[in-house]
């Protein structure tokens, strides 16, 4: 099981799913109509490291964070 964590303005609790790569996470989230409008603009981190590799493997206990568009300062 891995945990998906929604950061910043995405008002949603963390969820846990079975997934062996980010590709599985993508498939899962693409089915969620509330999230689909966000997906285009989310950056992704695995255990707090940003990644741009959809084939990044996931292990049991990993945490996937979804980061919406930012505006510090």
């Amino acid at each position: 099981m891995i945990t998906i964590e929604f950061l910043g303005p995405i008002a949603q609790e963390s969820i846990t799913i079975e997934a062996s790569s980010l590709r599985d996470v993508a498939k899962f989230l693409q089915q969620d109509s509330k999230l689909s409008s966000w997906l285009d603009s989310l950056a992704i981190a695995i255990n707090d490291k940003l990644t741009d590799n959809l084939d990044a493997p996931l292990n049991d206990g990993d945490r996937v964070s979804l980061l919406p568009p930012v505006c510090g300062g």
Binding site: A26, D40, S41, I44, L67, P69, V70, C71, G72, G73
Partner: protein, 149 residues
């Protein structure tokens, strides 16, 4: 710690004085702080910030390494929670032996901060917190999960 997070508005005079005292004998030639102040516009009463600290720390540490390779050093302070108009929410500074390096780094650092630091901004209007979506930027690499094979 060269990265400081404060609840509510920053105190730029305290920050400047403390940083200046820390650094003034370290033989830097240039010290450039960038102070961000919340502007009064579009009826906002305040801005409000969420920060995801673990990734902010990684982002900052990577920049500190880049600065170090150029002989320079970075410091930064940011607010979380509400910051009223005309108060400061952000101070970033570069220290360098060289003027040119300092000017180039403060520009690149502040611009990348805007684009890639995991901080979310909300307008506070009539006590409601509204995500500043239009002014926000997708981080580098955003959209990964929208890809369909």
């Amino acid at each position: 710690m060269m990265l400081e997070i404060f609840e509510g508005a920053l105190q730029p005079k305290e920050i400047f004085s403390r940083w200046y005292d820390d650094e003034c004998n370290a033989n830097w030639g240039a010290f450039i702080p960038f102070v961000g102040i919340v502007r009064e516009e579009d009826e906002i009463e305040a801005l409000s910030f969420d920060i995801y600290e673990p990734i902010l720390i990684n982002w900052f540490d990577a920049w500190q390494q880049k600065a170090k390779q150029r002989g320079a050093k970075l410091r930064m302070a940011h607010s979380k929670g509400d910051v009223k108009v005309h108060k400061s929410s952000y101070v970033a500074a570069v220290l360098s032996p060289k003027r040119r390096v300092a000017l180039e780094l403060i520009d690149a650092f502040v611009e990348d901060f805007k684009a890639n630091a995991p901080i979310w901004k909300y307008d506070v209007i009539q006590n409601k917190r509204i995500y500043a979506k239009k002014r926000s930027m997708p981080m580098n690499g955003a959209g990964l999960l929208a890809k369909k094979d």
